[in-house]
């Protein structure tokens, strides 16, 4: 495949064309969509963490002018099918509204439809619901115990998933290892929390028997799941994919919202608009992220080489399942990180509690797992008094070892971790950074440097689904592109998904332009509705550069090849004697050439000039299957997951005033290798945004609950999102190790920065406080917890100093 230096458009600076509509306020987000006759919905939420719903009295609400309908869970249960569960737990049943029992505080219990959102909110206050509070459970470890009260009594326990995998001779490796270490870390419940909440407009047309849906959505098979739940044919649901989505980073799956809005619309034969307000979103939007306890043991030798790892990961998923337990499965595809760990035992547990359900968060479980692994590598270095960088270098898979098969069955495509680290350290001036840390320490500050090296699996082969649920035998993960060259020679690409800021239109045009050697700005990109769409699996799993890029590449290649074939016929020369250049085809031997417009005209208008057997027109579809992982998992749980593995290496310098405990990031450098970069500005933006998100998860953000099962961080006053003050300038050191699995050597970068920043910040803060003999093992690391721990350690040190005099 081509090397970066020879690309004409790929890897070059190019404006992201989508930006124009956003800077002018001309985008179309779902709240901007208001078909004629739209009615507005609001939901009533449970005040209790667990309660039987004894009665719902909507009479007063329904009597109010402008109020059209009130529904409860029973209505949904009678008319719709339950929402899909990703794991094998058929008795964990979920409808858009609670049926008979509310299982978390904030769960949606009833819905009101009125002429305006304000009227709907007025009306919902008049709905009387009789609750009988029941005992509730919040703690994940408690939920794992067999005697805990099940959140879903029919399911019989709180365990949604409890799977053990053993890859390699783990016990033997532990028995033989000269050193062992064990530790526990906890990843607190946070999420991506986009600035736009989830919203949906559903409009049922009884005359055409069509349900039109506009939604702020990032969800594979969204139309499928709506149709299935509403018991409609799939081609009776039309999802409009040209809605701009105001950020998602995984969480906007909105299936309960869409089924609810669809149901309401079918009842009323009017468009119904359901836009979560921020309170509905935080408690009941079901968009929380992993809440995970990791217990890890490492077996290592005196050189710091890690021979085996045992990892137990317990995730508190909340009151319903959805796809979230699968976030324990995705990390299996890179379970050893960038290291040559030969044997792994992995125990994945997902439990239900009376908390808000989780949804897919950027990385799908990868960032918490990286945090757990990187903590261990630092511990190994500490135990042996070795340099943390050196331990990493010794354990890294080496560039010449790729493709590299890891114990759990995935092959890493390519990488050069040593070079990225060396390049980064050289660019940032490692010795000077260490000197700066030491200088800060002499001024009375605590100061630490954190390092983290981790992988971004990309390409979205979701074989963790059949891995964790053997009843799921899906092996198809595809993406598509249609390319059309019209009779006047203009090029239009169609893509078949929504986007939420990733610049897919620009990406697609750039790849097509590269193949056709035509300026990408001349290529128009449009989106189809779900009815006209070729298959797509949505921008999840850091897959679109690979999959959409691949589909576009192939589709554009078919156009090019057809033009060559037409020219070959017209010029009377074999295709092998012709050269495609800049949209035309030339025959170097004779100097004759045919240009783009002439070839397009022949395709469209001069059938008599086409080669025999060739169809007219100039349009191609390409449906691309993910390049690796075409088999189901083996019985012992080995499977090829994602095709491509990007690499990132973080170095952070943190200073802490010991009397205050507030970490200040003084320097942040990241080395990043995502293979061939299609658009540099897009990739840079992803990395910087991911780091900001990781800072939030490490230091600021938490969905905290009180003893009554109430979400304490219900609004932006208590759920703290990093502002520009909290995110430092970040230097990115770039490297390219192309992937052998993709058309241009590209890998994914949609999760970059987020996957390693929490680990790096934990490493830095722990380096800062190590002289005090303390460490932090829970995220987020709040100012108060840091301050209190430092104060206690200082007090202990002073006491023991006093005692020893």
């Amino acid at each position: 495949m081509a090397q970066p230096a020879s690309f004409k458009y790929v890897s070059r600076k190019r404006r992201v064309r989508e930006d124009r509509r956003f800077v002018s306020g001309q985008a179309t987000f779902v709240s901007d969509v208001t078909p004629a006759g739209t009615l507005h919905a609001a939901v009533v939420t449970s005040p209790y963490a667990c309660a039987r719903i004894a009665a719902i009295d909507a009479s007063e609400a329904l009597a109010m002018p402008g109020v059209h309908l009130v529904v409860g869970g029973q209505d949904l249960a009678a008319a719709t099918d339950p929402l899909l569960v990703g794991v094998d737990a058929p008795l964990v049943i979920r409808y858009p509204l609670a049926v008979d029992r509310a299982r978390y505080a904030g769960e949606w219990v009833a819905a009101v439809v009125a002429d305006s959102r304000a009227l709907a909110e007025d009306a919902r206050e008049k709905i009387r619901i009789d609750y009988e509070p029941l005992p509730f459970l919040l703690d994940g470890e408690a939920a794992y115990k067999a005697d805990s009260t099940p959140v879903h009594p029919d399911h019989g326990s709180n365990v949604l998933l409890d799977k053990r995998f053993v890859w390699g001779d783990v016990d033997e490796a532990f028995a033989a290892a000269p050193h062992k270490g064990a530790y526990r870390v906890k990843w607190g419940r946070s999420a991506t929390v986009p600035i736009e909440t989830f919203g949906v407009v559903a409009s049922w047309d009884p005359w055409r028997e069509m349900l039109d849906v506009w939604a702020s959505i990032q969800m594979p098979k969204f139309a499928d799941q709506i149709a299935r739940a509403l018991r409609m044919p799939l081609n009776g649901v039309r999802v409009h994919q040209d809605v701009d989505v105001g950020g998602s980073y995984g969480v906007k799956r909105g299936i309960k919202h869409a089924v609810l809005a669809g149901y309401l619309s079918r009842r009323l034969s009017r468009p119904v608009k359901l836009i979560e307000d921020r309170l509905e979103n935080m408690c009941g939007g079901d968009m929380h992220g992993p809440e995970r306890v990791f217990d890890v043991e490492l077996a290592f030798d005196g050189a710091g080489l890690v021979h085996a790892m045992r990892m137990r990961a317990l995730d508190n998923v909340g009151a319903y399942a959805g796809r979230s337990p699968l976030q324990l499965g995705k990390p299996v595809g890179s379970i050893v990180g960038p290291y040559r760990i030969g044997a792994v035992a992995y125990h994945a547990i997902a439990v239900t509690t009376n908390k808000t359900p989780q949804e897919a968060v950027r990385g799908f479980g990868q960032s918490p797992t990286n945090y757990a692994i990187e903590t261990g590598i630092d511990r190994v270095a500490e135990a042996l008094a070795l340099d943390r960088l050196e331990v990493r270098r010794r354990n890294f898979i080496r560039a010449e070892e790729f493709p590299y098969l890891i114990p759990s069955g995935t092959t890493y495509d390519s990488g050069d971790y040593h070079t990225v680290v060396a390049k980064t350290l050289d660019r940032l001036g490692w010795e000077a950074l260490v000197a700066e840390r030491d200088r800060l320490r002499t001024t009375g500050q605590l100061a630490g440097i954190g390092v983290a090296s981790c992988l971004e699996p990309s390409g979205g082969n979701s074989s963790f689904e059949p891995l964790l649920n053997t009843k799921n035998t899906t092996t198809t993960w595809m993406e598509s592109c249609r390319i059309m060259v019209d009779a006047l020679g203009a090029i239009t690409l169609t893509i078949h998904t929504t986007s939420s800021g990733q610049g897919h239109e620009t990406l697609a045009a750039t790849v097509a332009g590269e193949v056709l050697q035509i300026d990408p700005d001349r290529i128009r990109v449009v989106r189809a509705t779900s009815l006209e769409s070729l298959p797509s699996n949505s921008p999840v799993g850091s897959r679109m550069a690979i999959m959409l890029g691949g589909a576009v590449h192939h589709a554009a290649g078919q156009v090019r090849d057809k033009l060559i074939a037409i020219a070959a016929h017209r010029l009377g020369a074999p295709a092998s004697a012709l050269r495609y250049r800049d949209g035309g085809v030339e025959h170097p031997a004779s100097g004759r050439a045919m240009e783009w417009i002439d070839l397009a005209t022949i395709a469209h208008r001069h059938f008599h000039l086409l080669p025999p057997g060739m169809a007219p027109g100039l349009a191609f579809d390409h449906i691309l299957q993910v390049p690796t992982g075409l088999e189901l998992p083996t019985p012992d749980g080995r499977v090829q997951m994602y095709p491509c593995f990007s690499f990132e290496f973080h170095v952070v310098l943190v200073a802490i005033d010991p009397e205050i405990g507030k970490p200040q990031i003084r320097r942040y450098v990241i080395g990043h290798d995502c293979g061939t970069v299609i658009n540099p500005d897009i990739v840079r933006g992803m990395t910087l945004g991911g780091i900001a998100h990781g800072i939030g998860a490490a230091l600021l953000e938490e969905f905290a609950y009180d003893g009554e099962g109430q979400l304490v961080a219900q609004s932006f006053m208590d759920y703290l999102l990093p502002s520009a003050h909290e995110v430092p300038e970040v230097e990115i050191v770039h490297h390219v190790t192309p992937s052998p699995n993709t058309v241009l050597g590209q890998k994914g970068s949609g999760e970059s920065g987020y996957l390693g920043a929490p680990a790096a910040l934990s490493s830095a803060i722990n380096d800062a406080v190590r002289p005090l003999g303390i460490r932090f093992e829970v995220l987020p690391m709040r100012i108060s917890a840091i301050g209190d721990a430092i104060a206690e350690a200082v007090r202990r040190q002073e006491t023991s100093k006093g005692a020893s005099r």
Binding site: R15, F22, S24, G25, S31, P722, H725
Partner: protein, 163 residues
Amino acid sequence: MRVELSVNGRTVAVDVEPRRTLLDCLREDVGLDGTHAGCEHGVCGACTILLDGEPVRSCLMLAVQGDGHAITTIEGLSPGPGELSVLQDAFCETHGLQCGYCTPGMILAGQALLARTLSPSRAEIVEAISGNICRCTGYGQIVEAIALAAQRLRAANRKAGGA
């Protein structure tokens, strides 16, 4: 209640309930939906407009408080249909956005800063946008956009020989 609002240089009369926020009024009664609702309690800044040239959160104003002020929304920045101001264009040049949801508020915060100074320091730019939360970009390319716009406006002033 009837209220006369001056929006992007035009006077618009609306009839609204007192409880209607200026945000909802601009979006739904005036028909300018470039200003966005992110939290409706004044923290995220997605609803930022300029009131007499200064950034305010339109979710924290009632429409009935809006008379007698000059209101500028993102739509008011474009010099004409299909045209971008220097600042809007700078955001496109540096890719100072991804999903675009916080962008109108961010640009208006930048606009207000550049009206005060064409030589803002990085710290001043950060302070000016610190009331606008972005979940996509990590702020780096946003700061660069505002700095680039400042540079271009300074250069334009020099060319024009202006003050």
